[in-house]
Symmetry: C2
Subunit: 189 residues, 2 copies
DNA sequence: AATTATATACAGAAAAAACCGTACGTACTT
DNA sequence: AAGTACGTACGGTTTTTTCTGTATATAATT
């Protein structure tokens, strides 16, 4: 059973709408690499963006002309990034998905999810290495050794400072405070 | 002529420092995918991070155990992202590079460079499609057609709003205003 | 002017990633 | 309980990306 959104429309009209959609979908798909997402998954997202109803994997595969397997993995990527939500609809045994419409939130979520993790991992590595070098410095050694360690420690210190700053930027996104500084509605000038 | 930073140090000391560096370098390399950078280029960046002197392509190739060609392409990626600067040193015919130490700026630059471009391209596509749909709506048509167009236009409107917001977030980075809201120095609590 | 040193364009090789079909486990239906 | 519908793990194939060696262009040195 295939529902057709364009039922009853003239071919030329449908074509015009499809063309308008296609441009947007492809632009979205092309720029989604910033989210670390493959182009085809980006196109899937773009497709779903124009859907008024939740889609199931079979519909996606049909529309994308790709395998159901690929839809499954693609959609998981999108769900993991909170870009797409799984929705429940009684009567249907199939999993249904729809795009998250609050893109501001989507962006903030992505930022928190990905960049926070990077910050944490890098900070951990930096602190461990700092501790090792501190210890090495304490255990005596030549002048040359201390100069070398000092250089590395200074670089590490700067890096840590940066990540702590970045962490606070991420806080801004997570807390929603960003919307105080940059309101969703364009200030009417 | 190969200069050795570790000249005159005990092997165990050199090893300890290398271990500390390696952890940081690998962490950086691993997380650099957020910048759309390949892991090996990320490792190159990490390597250069601990260098006190500008490096040339031959030194990089030797340290990374990779071809000079790869170093050339890798370094270009990093230069394009303003993560690495080309420096001039009289007497040397080789191109020399060193990492940009101001990571706050590096982050802001990246954000402006990459996200701004995405915003512009997406906005362009959205506005074109909006114009087409507006025109199509004006040219009459059935009730069903107008409902369909209206749905798409509403989605496009929301998307445009979002990108305008994101554009202002990017402005925050570009103008340096972000540092007013999130100062580089951690506020002493 | 000839020689040498340097970076990179280019094409092929190697590695990685995306994609698909099959097989299987789970949960719903009968 | 048997059968059916569904999503996905998995292995193999195709496509894309990364990496390398050679060739070439450019600029410095002799």
């Amino acid at each position: 059973m295939m529902t057709n959104d364009f039922a009853g429309l003239e071919a030329a009209q449908e074509q015009a709408i499809q063309k308008a959609r296609k441009r947007v979908i492809e632009s979205i798909g092309k720029n989604m690499d910033l989210y670390g997402i493959t182009q085809s998954t980006g196109l899937l997202y773009g497709l779903m963006f124009f859907q008024d109803k939740p889609m199931n994997l079979d519909e996606m595969g049909q529309a994308m002309e790709m395998s159901k397997t690929s839809m499954s993995t693609g959609i998981r990527t999108l769900v993991d990034l909170n870009m797409v939500n799984k929705v429940w609809e009684k009567g249907s045994r199939k999993d249904l998905y729809e795009v998250e419409r609050d893109w501001h939130q989507t962006f903030a979520d992505f930022f928190v999810l990905k960049w926070r993790k990077a910050v944490e991992l890098n900070l951990m590595a930096l602190r461990r290495s700092k501790a090792e070098l501190d210890k090495l410095a304490e255990s005596g050694g030549s002048e040359a050794l201390h100069a070398l360690i000092g250089g590395d420690l200074e670089k590490i210190r700067q890096a840590i400072d940066y990540y702590l700053w970045l962490d606070r930027v991420i806080d801004l996104m997570e807390s929603g405070e960003i919307f105080k500084h940059v309101p969703k509605e364009e200030p009417s000038s």
